[in-house]
């Protein structure tokens, strides 16, 4: 299953466990025992029988969606969702018809992506709709291999931190516990740390890159997905220096929560519970440490198509789905337990995505961009003030070398 293969080639392949495997019998149903099994991406899931049933239903829905995608491929061609090359066509009626069909395709695609990309098509569709393919096409074919060769053996604060985190990234996962898995993850992270020295390496990216590897199958594609994510999809400076982008997103999120879920926001504020306490990790790891892997992948399906606003939709939905329970809390521990239990058991991605997109209401990327612009000065002032305060303190024990 995890054979040694050439760098950049398909290095792992997860076989989904057989359905019969999980189907609980009447006795387990009654006993409500905890069942342990591996999910589609090799993660160990611990759940009760209800969770297993939900997962089975979800798996069935995924299969049905797969049939829709295959039918479309058969009908419109394998790459029907790729951006059409209008310029290469003859003028006149051809162009108009193509524009119309492109529009129809994009509406179909949006709907289909919300319902989930079949796992087999995920690498190809992500690569295309995220813009990774385009980014990849602007550099020489050998870019990734050259980069990896050039940085081999180099030691920087980033590579040290990466080495420290490799065994701490999804420990217990069957592929990331192997040398090949860790080596592949290392190359992607180290390669990226040299591509963008402002980001270098930020803890959290290890989880993101790990999931990208599991989905994309090849290191190089995972690398380009990471690049497009950090450079185009997410807000700038999410992972750099003092995480200023992340601070901005958190402020925007707090504002949105007050608007979209005012009762929860008011209740938590009265408890002096800062929602960033839980939401920071969601935004930095893109839910990969909180949601079941298959649900995370469904969120990422939409993220790569619709952009970073999806993170707000999903984060708001998690609060919204637990509104009544959250309003009963009086201690921060209870708030965290409710959110944690809820996220860990969100085995049905449609439950989450329905709330995220149908109940939260629409938010355009433009609105979010405006909100960010509004929050940026305050974040910068706050970070700057903190830095100046700390610098003014007597620092007798400054480390000799840069810490990162």
């Amino acid at each position: 299953m995890f054979g040694t293969q050439a760098r950049g080639e398909v290095s792992h392949e997860f076989q989904p466990p057989l359905m019969q495997y999980w189907r609980p019998n009447i006795y387990t149903r009654r006993a409500n025992i905890v069942v342990k099994f591996q999910d589609l991406y090799g993660f160990t899931v611990e759940g009760n029988v209800d969770d297993v049933n939900v997962l089975n239903e979800v798996r069935e829905k995924v299969r049905q969606q797969g049939r829709v995608w295959w039918a479309l491929e058969a009908n419109k061609g394998a790459n029907w969702y790729l951006q059409p090359q209008i310029s290469s066509l003859s003028e006149g009626i051809g162009v108009a018809a193509l524009k119309l069909s492109a529009l129809a395709n994009s509406i179909t695609l949006k709907k289909l992506i919300r319902k989930g990309i079949p796992p087999v098509l995920r690498p190809k569709v992500w690569f295309s709709v995220s813009g990774a393919a385009k980014k990849r096409s602007t550099v020489p074919e050998s870019y990734y291999n050259d980069l990896i060769k050039a940085v081999e053996g180099k030691v920087t604060p980033a590579t040290k931190q990466i080495d420290h985190d490799l065994p701490r990234t999804f420990p217990g996962h069957p592929w990331f516990d192997t040398q090949e898995g860790r080596a592949a993850l290392r190359r992607v992270l180290v390669g990226y740390s040299f591509r963008d020295c402002h980001v270098g390496y930020c803890q959290g990216l290890n989880y993101v890159a790990a999931l990208l590897l599991l989905v994309m199958k090849t290191e190089e594609d995972a690398f380009w997905m990471l690049a497009v994510l950090l450079e185009n999809v997410l807000v700038n400076d999410c992972y750099t220096d003092n995480l200023s982008g992340c601070h901005v997103e958190q402020r925007v999120f707090k504002d949105l929560l007050s608007k979209k879920c005012p009762r929860i926001a008011a209740h938590l504020e009265a408890m002096e519970f800062d929602v960033s306490l839980v939401a920071t990790e969601w935004f930095l790891c893109l839910f990969s440490k909180s949601l079941p892997s298959e649900t995370t992948m469904r969120v990422w399906d939409v993220l790569f198509y619709d952009g970073a606003k999806v993170l707000f939709h999903v984060a708001l939905a998690i609060f919204k789905m637990n509104e009544e329970e959250l309003l009963m809390t009086s201690q921060i521990g209870d708030v965290i337990n409710i959110l944690q239990r809820s996220t860990h058991h969100l085995y049905d991605p449609d439950d989450l995505l329905t709330v995220a997109f149908d109940k939260i209401g629409s938010m355009t990327s433009t609105t979010i961009t405006k909100q960010r612009k509004k929050q940026e000065p305050a974040v910068m002032a706050e970070l700057d003030q903190r830095l100046r305060r700390l610098n003014s303190l007597k620092m007798d024990d400054k480390p000799d070398s840069p810490r990162e």
Binding site: P171, Q203, G204, H247, M271, S276, R389
Partner: protein
Amino acid sequence: MANSRNKNINAKLVLLGDVGAGKSSLVLRFVKGQFVDFQESTIGAAFFSQTLAVNDATIKFEIWDTAGQERYHSLAPMYYRGAAAAVVVYDTTNQASFACAKKWVTELQEQGNTNIVMALAGNKSDLLDSRKVTAEEAQVYAQENGLFFMETSAKTAQNVNEIFHEIAKRLPRAQPPQNPSGMVLMERPPVNGTSSSCCS
């Protein structure tokens, strides 16, 4: 369970320290009695709670285990704001982590709650052969700065419960109300006397 004479105190506790010093491992040992060789790296912070009975009071620790990487330090104020206690952790086999611990102590002294109970934990004390920071050096520093110091090992459990017990003993008994006025306080007894939870 606390009897009616006992005080119930909720105490926010924050763990700060360099990356890989063993903050999460200390918490895992304290809260669950477990140790794993490779603890998942913490992003943002993880929350745990643990209840301790000390002398006349029951202390419920609400623990924030923070991420160690330097760029995450800008998030720290959110976690240490209003904290009753802090455990600043360094790795006894890593001199740079001790320097980092001192920076945290300075920041807490300047920015934290003025009555904060601070502990300095020299972790990984089981790794005798690779020790870089002596207990004496840390002890002197701790005394000068009004912290109490213990060498700990999350791996062998040495001094882990002790350090949290010591904090519990030192917490001021007259706690200012933790909830803003107007809140309805619902005292729910913890299930099984000791409750623990974590958020990874």
